[in-house]
């Protein structure tokens, strides 16, 4: 692909502008509360890239975000807004953790695929509920996936406070078998770089191929672009809505798995964090393109990783959520940016 053409693509420009404008607005907020944005951003940058630990932490944060970004992005391709990646992460992680506790007797080349499959199936099934409700009951996936997020949270809380609780009365699951844990590439102090990043990188390739090269990708895109024409062309809308949700959910579930097998070694309540919502931001910045999503995931992971340093510098880290909100807002209302650009061009001409 021609890189220059890629960079000058309107979609890319919109994403870049959205990120830029949101950082400027955040800077203004900092000035208002009496903080120096340059200092804060420097802290943020240092927190994300300044040390080996930071870089490792950054990559580890990016790994699941790539997956949830791909999950939301794949849904968008089919015209579906999977706002429920969080729930799918939870269910995927829970199932992975459960299977992970059972496979102690197996060698790693069996147990690792088993926990991954469990996570993907869990996420896929959870998302497929929303897909089925959409396809055959007409219920909007935004409402159903949100409700499923809450239900997933309650289920997880129930099991780690009861049937699947680690000894000692703490609300977390028992640890998974050693054979199911992903090996680390390197460790610096308490921070370890796990091989889970390769799962995410492989997922980028797989999703890219599915979208661009396969019959399934063709059908899913057809349904997303024009369900009427898809149906006319003999493509089952219902089947593809369920399938697209399931693939999307499988990716989110896999994100959950990575946290269990590569980071915590068990399930616990806050594991999913805000990965689902981050996935939306990432898919939108990445314009649903697998490579764009990978880049966007690193952007968001950098902001998130650096936000701790920023907080130490006196700016509450919730600011990054505001930044994300503004980015999504601007991508949604991309005509705002187009209008600004046209105005500028006109001024330049005049």
């Amino acid at each position: 692909m021609n890189i220059k053409k890629y960079l000058l693509n309107e979609k890319v420009i919109i994403s870049l502008f959205s990120v830029l404008i949101s950082l400027v607005i955040a800077a203004i907020v900092m000035i208002v509360i009496g903080k120096n944005p340059l200092v804060a951003y420097a802290a943020l940058f240092y927190g994300a890239f300044g040390t080996k630990e930071a870089i490792i932490d950054n990559i580890m944060k990016a790994s699941p975000l790539i997956l949830t970004g791909l999950a939301v992005g794949f849904g968008f391709r089919a015209g579906l807004f999977n706002i429920g990646a969080n729930g799918q992460v939870i269910i995927g992680a829970l199932l992975s953790a459960y299977v992970g506790t059972l496979v102690g007797a197996y060698p790693f080349f069996l147990s690792i695929p088993l926990v991954m499959i469990a996570g993907m199936l869990g996420g896929a099934a959870w998302a497929a509920i929303a897909g089925w409700l959409k396809a055959y009951r007409g219920a909007h996936e935004v409402i159903t996936t949100i409700m499923l997020n809450y239900v997933a949270t309650f289920i997880a809380n129930y099991v780690v406070n009861g049937p699947f609780q680690a000894p000692g009365g703490v609300p977390k699951s028992p640890s998974i078998a050693y054979s199911a844990q992903f090996p680390n590439i390197m460790s610096v102090g308490a921070t370890s770089l796990s091989t889970i990043i390769f799962v995410s990188l492989a997922a980028i390739v797989v999703i890219y191929v599915i979208i661009q090269r396969t019959t399934i990708g063709y059908e899913v895109k057809a349904v997303g672009f024009n369900p009427y024409a898809a149906e006319y062309g003999g493509i089952s809308i219902g089947k593809n809505v369920v399938l697209a949700m399931a693939i999307s959910g499988a990716l989110a579930g896999l994100a959950g798995t990575t946290q269990v097998v590569g980071v915590y070694g068990r399930y616990f309540g806050a594991l999913s964090g805000s990965m689902g919502f981050d996935g939306i931001t990432i898919a939108l910045i990445g314009q649903n393109d697998p490579i764009g999503i990978a880049l966007a995931a690193f952007l968001i992971s950098s902001i998130r990783t650096g936000s701790n340093q920023m907080q130490i510098a006196g700016v509450p880290k919730d600011l990054v959520v505001i930044i994300q909100g503004i980015i999504i807002f601007l991508v949604a209302a991309n005509r705002i940016i187009k209008t600004i650009r046209i105005r500028k061009r006109k001024e330049a001409e005049a």
């Binding site: 807004f81 409700l133 009951r137 509450p316 990054v320 999504i328 991508v331 005509r335 705002i336």
Partner: protein, 319 residues
């Protein structure tokens, strides 16, 4: 089995259940009314959740700084209106994808409230306690058995919620503006050819939704509790949206559905606390998911019987 029947009977004969139904429904009714206003004019508003959150936070903030909860209410309302105005600006003027814009505003609300919480109160999680809006004391009516216990001491928000339903119904179905709202939500092009300013009517609908949803949110914080906690809306904005759908985009229908949801939650809470059942602590999680599951089932079952305004969610762009 018998203890369950006993427990359920206990719940239904206890006025607390009915009062709790009203208070649980109040934020839902207000937010659902917001949804009705916005979507009647053809703008989908999933940002209700975010608007409620801002309303809740503004309520506490205003009350905290002035010591007067009514100023809090004013500030919360203002925040809600500002959020709605942003949504309106993006979706009406710039033809944004309304669901994505709504999502952005939900994130924005979470970010702003989280950020401001730390900035103003010094710690994440929850704010200090502030004065809440005083309850409406019906005096000697309180002593009427049963009904007195339900209605004797309600928050003014409860009355506001029901007033908003009457107001919404009259405005939408009995006034010229309401006729225009309905026309713009169903066929903006037709309205445009008759010289109706589609954009202005839509702005009105969306901004009104900000007002109502913010009131619903403010009830959560300064209605009775007097405190804001992180993400305290807990999906109520989405449940309100579901109530609006089940209620067929009609104020009275949305109110009925909200009462159903509120009743289910109240029933849940009351049932859990029945000592005859002797429930272990983690059953709270099972009970907790019930309202969400009910929403799922109801949304799946009622679609098709209810019809959204024809142009709901579709930006109107001239030329």
């Amino acid at each position: 089995m018998n203890e369950w029947i006993q427990a359920i009977l206990n719940v239904f004969t206890n006025p607390t259940f009915y009062k709790s139904t009203l208070t649980q429904s109040t934020p839902l009714i207000l937010a659902a009314m917001g949804g009705v206003f916005s979507e009647t004019t053809g703008v989908t508003n999933i940002a209700l959740e975010g608007i409620m959150l801002m309303g809740a936070f503004g309520g506490v903030m205003g009350s905290y700084f002035t010591g007067n909860p009514w100023y809090g209410l004013a500030l919360g309302t203002f925040f809600g209106l500002a959020m709605a105005a942003l949504h309106a600006w993006a979706s009406i003027k710039y033809g944004a994808d309304q669901i994505i814009s709504g999502t952005a505003l939900i994130l924005l609300a979470q970010g702003i409230t989280g950020f401001a919480l730390v900035e103003l109160f010094g710690q994440p999680g929850s704010t200090d306690l502030v004065r809440s809006i005083p309850l409406v004391d019906l005096g000697s009516f309180k002593d009427v058995p049963f009904f007195g216990q339900i209605f004797g001491n309600l928050s003014p928000f409860v009355y506001m919620a029901f007033a908003s339903v009457i107001f919404g119904w009259i405005l939408i179905y009995k006034t010229k503006l309401g006729l225009r709202m309905r026309s713009v939500g169903n066929n903006p092009e037709a309205a445009d050819t008759l010289g109706i300013n589609v954009y202005n009517v839509r702005y009105f609908g969306v901004i009104m939704s900000g007002l109502f949803a913010a009131l619903g949110g403010a009830y959560l914080s300064i209605g009775e509790l007097g405190q804001f906690t992180t993400n305290m809306t807990n999906g109520r904005g989405f449940i309100a949206l579901a109530a609006m759908i089940i209620g067929n985009w009609n104020p009275v229908g949305a109110m009925s559905a909200s009462l159903l949801f509120g009743g289910a939650t109240a029933f849940n809470n009351q049932l859990q606390s029945q000592s005859v059942l002797n429930l272990s602590t983690n059953t709270q999680y099972i009970f907790g998911m019930i309202p969400y599951i009910i929403t799922l089932i109801v949304v799946a079952g009622f679609i098709g019987k209810s019809r959204a305004p024809s142009a709901d969610g579709i930006p109107y762009i001239k030329e």
